[in-house]
Amino acid sequence: MEEQLNKYFPEYEELLKTKDYSMLSDSERSIVNRFSTEEEYTGMRKIILANKEITNEERNAIKPDPEILNNLLNTMKSNEAPRGVSKVVKNIFGYRIPAYQFAMYAAASIILFIFVLNREKIVTVQKPIYVCKTDTVEKYIVKETKPEVQSPAKLNYTKTDEPVTLNKNETPDNTQITNDNNSAINILEFLGINVDLKEKIEDFKPKGRTMLDDSAIVKFLVKI
């Protein structure tokens, strides 16, 4: 019943307001019959219509007292009305300061005085700020290390030549080079240079001056 009432009540109420039972169509009558009999429907409709008539009649006759609006507007105006200058001045001079307000004022003055006096002494401690820097170049000098000097006993020796024994009677080969006219050629031959340099050596001799052939050969060899 409750569910059906929830579902169909708006339609049912509309029918009550607008139609007599005899004027209902079959579908409308089926809605009405879910909740009430014909007699009940007629009774309810009568109540709604009579009530409407009463309301319309009374609404025109019953009005609020016009003074109500004036009273309310006066209340509003008194709420917003600015106070006169004399009233404000009177309030300022006539205002009584309670003891606790005076005590608070005195305490606040003392605190302010102490603060102003000690203002310079106040040291503000700043917290250290750490900043990473990466632009430093460090130079490392590698110490020179001298090679270890090994003792002769530890050195490895390799045998290259066998010792030769000479007989007393044997005369050694003559290795001396004589300083004669052909000494330069002899030196070159001795060195294994088989070049005819007799003429070229002349080029190395400074003109107008005497110079030994040996010195000229040495210069030549250096040039080579």
């Binding site: 409750e2 009432l5 929830n6 009540f9 708006p10 049912y12 109420e13 009550l16 909740f35 009430s36 007699e39 009940e40 009774g43 309810m44 009568k46 109540i47 709604i48 009579a50 009530n51 409407k52 008539e53 009463i54 309301t55 009374e58 609404r59 019953i62 009005k63 609020p64 007292d65 109500i68 609006l69 009273n71 309310l72 507007l73 209340t75 509003m76 105006k77 709420n79 917003e80």
Partner: protein
């Protein structure tokens, strides 16, 4: 003229914001819109006492001025106003015996009224008197729901918000109130028919 037009076109909720700034024109406009309705609501709910309805109307609009900040703009103004009015009526029922006294004054049966009047000319007025009497005898919640629906013509949703109950409850209250009134006034209808039959 331009300002007056501005107020006429403003929604109730906008006017309420202006009233918060002590705008008297906005208040006048809002009063114009709702004073008759709310006064009649009080008149119906407080036992047809016109003076009392006047006092309550003044009080409720005073609340509109002074308790402006308590109004939440997410709620429809009319719903908020009728909620206030309904609460005022409930408080009045609790704190005074007026309603009971009023009911006592009307404590005469349908039958006696009909019999006493049927000797004279019958008209709809008698039926209306009986209807009003029966309405006053209803339980407060049922009466309030009926008045809000058929006198103030508020929607079921609005009534549910005002009465702080579900829409289903409102629908069933309306239906059972109508049913109850119909049953009570049935005797009257029968008597009327008899009278018509007699007169014919």
């Amino acid at each position: 003229m331009l300002f007056v037009k501005k107020y006429i076109n403003s929604a109730d909720e906008e006017l309420m914001l202006l009233i918060g700034n002590n705008d008297t024109k906005a208040f006048e406009e809002l009063y114009k819109r709702y004073s008759n309705k709310i006064h009649y609501y009080f008149f119906r709910m407080l036992g047809y006492d016109k003076e009392k309805a006047n006092d309550f109307t003044q009080d409720i609009f005073l609340k509109v001025i002074e308790k402006n900040s308590s109004y939440k703009s997410n709620l429809k103004f009319s719903t908020w106003l009728y909620s206030l009015a309904t609460n005022m009526c409930r408080n009045d029922y609790k704190h005074s015996e007026v309603k009971l006294k009023h009911d006592e004054e009307y404590k005469y049966t349908t039958e006696t009224v009909c019999h006493s009047r049927f000797d004279n000319v019958y008209d709809n007025k008698i039926f209306k008197e009986n209807l009003e009497k029966e309405l006053n005898e209803l339980e407060t919640n049922h009466k309030t729901t009926f008045v809000l629906r058929f006198h103030e013509e508020l929607s079921i949703k609005e009534i549910a918000e005002i009465m702080d109950c579900s829409e289903g409850t409102v629908k069933s209250r309306i239906f059972y109130t109508l049913q109850k009134l119909s049953q009570k006034l049935r005797t009257f209808n029968q008597l009327k028919e008899n009278n018509l039959w007699k007169s014919n």
